[in-house]
Amino acid sequence: MLSPVVEKDINEYYKARNGTPAGVQVVVIAINTDLTSQSRTDSFIQSVGFDLVLDDPEWRSYAQFGPGNSASRYVIINGLADSPSHKQWEVLFNQVYFQPRQPEVLRAITETVKPPVAAEPVRPALGRVRRAESGAVEFALSGEPGRRYHVEFSTDLRSWTRVATLTATAEGTTHRDDRAVRE
């Protein structure tokens, strides 16, 4: 029974590091498939120190993943949606045994799961600056739709004055500054 190895070298290992180096959280779920010897099972759970134990008296887990060898089976599943490395709920490991002295093999498999890549933020940009006949200045702003942007001006790059606060749209936003006539 390799449960103590799983608890120490997988559960405690990733809890101490707040997940994998890529920032993926790992949860260990112990599934008890025998309800005939409750007190012995409870003693075993306590000795191993499992965080989370589910009871499976109908052997649904064995029916899905395969029977156990001396009742043990170890399965690693990716629960991340939009991971670039694996499908969500893809099985990464499914065996009745692993080398107890090589938990790093299990960790290496666990750490093949990459988190979703965050979309690059849209950089705001000013464009189409033009002066109207009245002297007013018009300019266009593009940015992430729905996000608010402050537009400021400066004559010395030290002190800045706000000209407008604009909310970007998918089509781009145009602003007209009539104060340019006076200033």
Partner: protein, 63 residues
């Protein structure tokens, strides 16, 4: 003859307890949801409740 009978019984039990091997989920395939109860509280928990994490299942029985 006894051995043969025992073999047949084991085969029959095996067939009843588990689906054909091809029905098991293998590496690279997608696991179906699995709903069980927490031993401590009896609260129902599903694999899908752990979306966003890598899930390590330790199937065990301690006789």
């Amino acid at each position: 003859m006894r051995i043969f009978t025992l073999s047949l019984l084991l085969l029959a039990f095996g067939q009843a307890a588990f689906p054909a091997r091809a029905a098991f989920v293998h590496v690279g395939e997608v696991a179906a949801d699995l709903t069980l109860k927490k031993r401590k509280t009896g609260e129902t928990v599903s694999l899908r409740d752990f979306a966003g994490k890598v899930i390590f299942l330790d199937l065990f029985a301690y006789w």
